[in-house]
């Protein structure tokens, strides 16, 4: 359940940035690389609990998954990772070998975890 420590870091990073922006926080959009071992549901639960008593309380956490992009030092391929499992299978996983020449690859995208944006309503806060 390391989602709690991740969400704790997330809230600590976001709150100071919002001090100069009035309004109710509606949504917080988190970009999560698909190689991250983080459960969306656990992130949502942790956010609901840890945001309690902060300006983020009641906001919706939206997790958007960033697909894996790899670069191959051997053949120069750069693009989507090959996948194990059917292409339309929700549970297919990226394989970190070059889809063109099978050499080991560098991960260009797929491990990130960052806040993309926060949406605030312009209506004034009615309760504290």
């Amino acid at each position: 359940m390391h989602e709690y420590s991740v969400v704790d870091a997330l809230i600590s990073a976001v709150l100071p940035r919002l001090t100069e922006h009035p309004g109710r926080v509606k949504t917080l959009v988190l970009k999560k690389g698909e190689l991250r071992i983080l459960s969306d549901r656990a992130l949502g639960n942790a956010f609901e609990i840890l945001s309690h008593g902060t300006r983020l309380a009641g906001a919706q956490l939206v997790v958007e998954v960033v697909p894996t992009v790899v670069a191959c030092p051997a053949c120069g391929y750069r693009g989507a990772a090959g996948r194990l499992g059917e292409a339309d299978d929700h549970f297919s996983i990226p394989v970190l070998a070059c889809p063109e020449c099978t050499a080991p690859v560098d991960v260009v995208a797929g491990r990130e975890l960052y806040v993309d944006h926060v949406t605030l309503s312009d209506e004034p806060l009615t309760d504290a």
């Binding site: 309004g23 190689l35 071992i37 194990l84 996983i93 944006h117 312009d122």
Partner: protein, 221 residues
Amino acid sequence: MHDVRFAGEDILARQLELAEANYQRLHEKRIRSISVMGAIGSGKTTLIEQAIDRLRRQGLRVGTIAADSAGDDDHRRFLERGAVSVNVNTQDDCHLDAHTVHHALDHLPLEAMDVLFVENVGNLICPADFPLGTDVEIVVISVTEGDDMVRKHPKIFAQTDFVAVNKVDLAAAVGVNPQRIVDDYARVNPHGKVILTSLRSGEGIDALLDLLGLRCTSTQW
């Protein structure tokens, strides 16, 4: 409605910076470092004990960071084998992080060490998202966990470069075919390296140390 856009700094950026700092610090001291992960009872501690015995026989000085939720059992086992060790209790945290390792390194005689083993908390899933700054990471699986371990956690094994499939001496008794684990791992990670071990008796430890780059008699790694 209006949006506040963020610069895209990783939420765990501080952890990544500290992992890089740990890596640099260990390299400056020419210490080869190995992070050992795996479920409770998979054989992480026994792997490190066996490694200490062999490496010390080669004249190498071994340090360990022993992490557990509570207690100092593993730490004392490493001390008894002749390693220098620091005990870390993570309490309610299910994994080590680079920050904790950063402080643990302050308590080790780095000038008098050639190899560092970091034993993570017994947990397969959570440590995978927290790089510590070691040279290599290895996951220990026990056959008693079942031969579907890789299929159940493919994303972890797709990113794990080294795997020890341990307690193979018990495979028949628990009705597990270790080759299935090996085959599953090869599918999710075509470049991963795997060794079958029975660490209590020391079987496979030499091949494992070779794989981890620890068999050289010099410290020029």
